[in-house]
């Protein structure tokens, strides 16, 4: 096995890591883009998705459990998002720092709740048999290259979510309303659009996507009360790099981050790769503070 399979494998891993990051970050980008809300409890929505996957798998064991878990986690996390929005975020609108602090408090409460309900040591969510294998290239230049089915599945989910989201925003009436509110909130309200309802649905959509992301992240990682913290930092990173609030930017930034760290790791270990990644992002932001995609009026025009 020479260099080529390793490099090709790392390019694939870069896409795979990007798919994890984009799923983890889309919800953040959505709520920030429309409402300028930085949701510190976003990681806990991912955690919630993981636990909902665990509960669903108890009820629906067998090969299709994980497919059943995805809509359950989406709706469950969206419902929690609705409660969060109506009880807290709505009342703190236009006070970004207060929202930051309040949602951080919510994140601590949710972590402790998970600890009290499920215990501190985490629960077991496993990939079903039909995902638990890998494709290996048997001959040719890339002989020995291994592509895990689980990672392919997550890539497909990421593409499906991004496709559905851009269709929703570009082609539906709800998308039209969202874009209108995003372009000019006051004008949209004056034109008779229920701005509050648009805010609420976008926030729920964001937390719902996070819940769904939590299900697929559980296939490759742990489900513990503080698992959200492992993903929320890279999620913030790609949202900032992508241009705050831009969905297209978030997707591109995920890919940049994923490929950068995967390719750098051919030469250095994971710890150093993280250092280099952060240096790269700092450098990038120095020269392009607005991020990959500059956010002007049409923020959510993905």
């Amino acid at each position: 096995m020479g260099e080529w399979p390793l490099i090709a494998g790392q390019v694939f891993n870069g896409f795979s890591v990007a798919s994890l990051y984009v799923l983890a970050a889309l919800g953040l980008a959505l709520s920030f883009g429309l409402m300028r809300v930085i949701n510190m409890a976003h990681g806990e929505m991912l955690m919630l998705g993981g636990y909902l996957a665990y509960l669903t798998l108890q009820v629906v064991p067998g090969p299709l459990g994980i497919l059943a878990a995805m809509p359950v986690a989406f709706l469950g996390a969206a419902a929690v998002g609705a409660v969060l929005e109506t009880t807290l975020i709505k009342r703190l609108s236009a006070r970004p720092l207060d929202t930051l602090l309040a949602t951080w408090g919510v994140s601590l409460i949710l972590q402790q709740a998970a600890r009290n309900i499920f215990g501190a040591i985490g629960v077991d969510v496993r990939a079903p048999q039909w995902l638990n294998h890998a494709y290996t290239v048997q001959s040719g230049l890339l002989e020995g290259l291994t592509i895990p089915a689980t990672r392919l599945f997550i890539l497909a989910v990421a593409f499906a979510v991004m496709g559905a989201l851009s269709l929703l925003l570009a082609r539906t009436r709800i998308g039209l309303l969202v874009r209108a509110v995003n372009q000019d909130r006051g004008m949209a309200a004056a034109a008779g659009i229920n701005v509050r309802a648009v805010d609420l649905s976008v926030f729920c959509l964001g937390t719902g996507i996070a819940g769904l992301a939590g299900v697929v992240l559980a296939l490759l990682g742990p489900v513990t009360p503080n698992v959200g913290q492992s993903y929320v930092v890279p999620a913030f990173l790609v949202v900032v790099l992508g241009g705050l609030g831009s969905l297209k930017g978030t997707a591109i930034a995920s890919l940049i981050v994923g490929l950068f760290s995967a390719l750098v790791q051919i030469l250095v270990d994971v710890s150093l790769a993280q250092v280099l990644l952060l240096l790269f992002v700092i450098g990038f932001i120095q020269f392009r503070p607005q991020g990959v995609v500059a956010v002007r009026s049409r923020v959510l025009d993905a």
Partner: protein, 403 residues
């Protein structure tokens, strides 16, 4: 993670300080009791592991009290919370010894917490009983190290692997002092045995992405992986290994931080077939172990898992009792001298005794995980192994000040 890690201990610290200053007990020096400190993390990220060690230490104290106590006195445990924060460990150790009037302290898990407490015990001339396997390279007269030294856990694992005929080793660890030192020792010995280190990789504590590490494993094609990963990273590692078509059955993994409790938490089927090296397994034979497991499960639940550090904590309390009775005093200096002069104790992990360097003479075992989260013991060292804090290949010429 970084942010949370910074704020939470600080906040907890403030809360705990407030709580303890309110409830500080009057120094009651009843003639028929003697106070000992039990200092483990009851909150924070290490609580999962340390609460059970505290349980085992309390169990030993209760058993001793039920049997009449030590030198005619009942033991009164003073439990404090180290909150997974080395600074708090140091603070609470000071509080216990200086203000709490305890004669000795049982506690600590991470090397960082031990290093933070060490100057406190040296300054106050007290004695700490530390029950977790560690990286060696330290030998304080104020600490009794009952957990394995590298030559009692890591090197026996290597010896087993060499006997099995494994030639090529891949080292994976979390990025902190124990894995780095353990792998330094392993590399020197693998080289000395004329075998091959196929690779060495570190992932930050709590890291979840192993895609590149696994790609490097696949490229290097080792015979076995030696893993010093700690905590949740293990779940990500084993899940992603399985996803990449490398379950333990195909590429064996030897772990140094997975015990019975961790196996249950991770889902035994995920780690089934992988190996671990310890000085105790719940499945060990022997009347003393059967009695200990039964007593622990009677108190803490029928399914409760029992692990190596817990048993070391439990044995520490009994060793302290034996040393106190030998010297007839609670004075830490005299207890220390008596402890290293004790004969072999018959314990749940077999015959053990403290050596002159204050570490435990004990047996090394290799176990393989079965589907229920228990280990099948497949190898054990020939007799007990004398503890050596300074590996001769890595720290040539370094010796304990005490010996």
């Amino acid at each position: 993670m970084v942010m949370r890690g910074m704020y939470k201990p600080a906040g907890l610290a403030a809360l705990l300080l407030a709580a303890t200053s309110l409830s500080a007990p009057a120094p009651a020096w009843a003639a028929d009791t003697v106070k000992v400190g039990v200092l483990q993390s009851l909150t924070g990220t290490m609580a999962i592991s340390e609460v059970t060690v505290k349980n085992a230490e309390i169990l030993a104290i209760e058993e001793i009290n039920a049997g009449g106590g030590v030198l005619g006195k009942k033991i009164e445990p003073v439990v404090e919370d180290g909150a997974s924060d080395p600074a708090i460990f140091a603070q609470k150790a000071t509080k216990l010894v200086q203000d709490g009037g305890v004669v000795t302290v049982f506690g600590g898990w991470t090397s960082a917490s031990r290093k933070a407490m060490l100057p406190v015990f040296q300054k106050l001339k007290s004695l700490l009983w530390y029950s977790v396997q560690f990286e060696g390279n330290e030998c304080s007269p104020n600490i009794m190290y009952s957990g394995a030294q590298p030559n009692q856990q890591i090197l026996p694992a290597l010896q087993w692997a060499v006997e099995k005929g494994y030639k090529s080793y891949f080292l994976i660890g979390s990025d902190y002092v124990f894995p780095r030192t353990a792998n330094l020792i392993l590399k020197k010995h693998i080289d000395a045995d004329k075998l091959k280190v196929a690779g060495e990789e570190y992932v930050p504590l709590g890291g979840t992405d192993f895609s590149a590490v696994i790609a490097k494993v696949q490229a290097a094609k080792p015979d076995i992986i030696f893993s010093t990963l700690n905590g949740d990273s293990n779940v990500s590692f084993f899940k992603q290994m399985a996803a990449a078509g490398l379950p333990s059955a195909k590429l064996p993994v030897m772990s140094f931080s997975i015990g019975e409790q961790e196996a249950v938490a991770m889902g035994p089927s995920l780690v089934e077939g992988s190996y671990a090296a310890w000085n105790y397994f719940q499945s060990l034979d022997g009347a003393a172990n059967k009695k200990f497991v039964a007593a622990y499960q009677a108190k803490f639940g029928a399914g409760a898992a029992v692990t190596d550090p817990m048993v070391h904590g439990y044995v520490d309390v009994y060793a302290w009792k034996a040393a106190v009775e030998k010297t007839g005093s609670f004075d830490p200096e005299k207890v220390r001298a008596a402890a290293v002069a004790l004969d072999y104790l018959d314990t749940a992990m077999g015959k053990v005794k403290f050596a002159a360097n204050q570490s435990l003479v004990q047996t090394g075992y290799i176990g393989q995980l079965d589907p229920t989260g228990q280990f099948k013991i497949i190898w054990q060292s020939k007799g007990t192994i004398d503890p050596d804090p300074y590996d001769p290949l890595v720290f040539p010429g370094k010796k304990c000040p005490a010996s």
